[in-house]
């Protein structure tokens, strides 16, 4: 498993198959059905998440997004690296080691009485 801190612009990462996603008004809600976590991505993180198909290095994704949004490639590259490290710690990327403390803080908070029935 790859340490998320080691991810950089040369990394190739892919969304976990255990994650189901829903885009709503530009945000994306991610549910990991094995970890029981839920995360909400803002529109920038959503744009990055869409590109994580495991086919391209992060630098190519940054170049693609910078062109699409007509903005600075270097800044987008920094955003992509920050995003994939965070997504990795959350257990949302294949082959990247998750961080248990980070995951715990995103577990769905369902009251016991709704689960006990």
């Amino acid at each position: 498993m790859i340490d998320p801190a080691s991810l950089d612009l040369t990394s190739v990462v892919r969304r976990s198959n255990a994650v189901v996603a829903a885009e709503l008004d530009g945000d994306t809600v991610l549910y990991h059905d094995q970890l029981g976590t839920v995360n909400v991505l803002d529109p920038i993180a959503t744009a990055i998440w869409r590109e994580l198909d495991g086919d391209r290095v992060a630098e190519d994704i940054a170049t693609h997004l910078a062109t699409m949004y007509d903005t600075d490639t270097e800044q987008v590259g920094a955003d992509v690296v920050t995003a994939i490290r965070a997504l990795g710690r959350l257990g949302l990327l294949d082959g990247v080691a998750s961080d248990p403390a980070t995951i715990a803080s995103h577990e769905l908070d369902i009251p016991d009485h709704l689960d006990d029935r």
């Binding site: 189901v20 829903a22 709503l24 769905l108 009485h113 709704l114 689960d115 029935r117």
Partner: protein
């Protein structure tokens, strides 16, 4: 006194079917037997063979004369008749929620107007039953005050029209709906009123309705009434947190609720006043243009 062996049933209810939980109620006391039969009348289904039988025994010998038996097993024996009704209604809820595996079940009240449902998801003690009662009292139709059942294929809401369970904190504001019962039956209701949907008038219950609105209600004593849109992403997380047995069908329920929210209008309602809260929901559902026309 009625001995346990020779109980004679003063009332035997028809069969009820609540989202697949088929049951009937018998009572040795005519008053509470009729009351409970009326309370669940909206769930009546003459074709349903009862799988569960609730027996309410009123006047057994000894210090604990009140009992509830479920399929012959005594599950409550108490000096307080309210314990019997409390356990019966709780058990029915449990069975409904335990059985509805083909439905997404939200901890929510739901009402409808002109064939459009308003779902009111909220944690316990948020005032959702009181708000549902207030809305039905103002002409909305009733779907449930406990479990909003959504078909994941069609996203339509199916009714679980149990009696509305109203806690003492709301009795004053709903005083005109106080159950009209004699003193003996009233002892069964000292912890919680159980209001039959028919208490609000004929044709009160709706079923199989499209969801147009999701409103997250929160009662706050003394609060000004505010009804504000919230992001759908945040609404989805809050709905997941109010989904019964979410982990059993997590992926299916997530996808269904996301699809539902893609088209529903989503708001948060904070209020310390039932009249104002109901008016805010009425305006939302009717729409300001339609409301203006209705007033002309």
């Amino acid at each position: 006194m009625v001995s346990e062996e020779t109980a004679r049933w003063a009332v035997t209810s028809p069969s009820f079917d609540a989202l697949g939980h088929r049951f009937a109620i018998r009572s040795t006391h005519a008053g509470i037997g009729r009351f409970l039969t009326d309370a669940y009348t909206a769930c009546e289904d003459p074709d349903a063979a009862p799988a569960t039988r609730y027996d309410v025994l009123h006047d057994l010998a000894g210090d604990y004369p009140h009992a509830l038996r479920i399929d012959g097993d005594e599950v409550v024996r108490s000096a307080r008749p309210a314990d019997v009704v409390g356990h019966l209604t709780w058990h029915v809820n449990q069975q409904v929620i335990g059985r509805g595996s083909d439905l997404v079940l939200l901890h929510a009240a739901a009402v409808s107007s002109d064939g459009v449902a308003v779902v009111l998801p909220a944690p316990m003690e948020s005032g959702k039953s009181t708000l549902a009662a207030g809305l039905v009292d103002r002409g909305f139709r009733y779907l449930t005050d406990e479990a909003a059942a959504i078909d994941p294929a069609t996203l339509r809401l199916r009714a679980y029209p149990k009696p509305l369970s109203i806690d003492p904190g709301s009795w004053e504001v709903l005083a005109h709906l106080r159950p009209q019962v004699d003193d003996e039956v009233a002892r069964y209701l000292v912890d919680q009123w159980q209001l039959a949907p028919a208490r609000f008038g004929l044709d009160t219950v709706d079923d199989d309705v499209a969801v147009g609105h999701v409103v997250f209600p929160r009662y706050e004593a003394g609060a000004e009434t505010t009804l504000a849109p919230i992001p759908r992403s945040r609404a989805l997380v809050r709905m997941l947190e109010q989904t019964f047995r979410f982990e059993r069908h997590g992926r299916r329920d997530f996808q269904a609720l996301a699809r539902l929210l893609a088209t529903a209008r989503v708001h948060e309602l904070v209020s310390g006043d039932l009249d104002h809260a109901c008016e805010a929901v009425r305006r939302l559902v009717l729409g300001s243009d339609d409301l203006a026309k209705a007033r002309r």
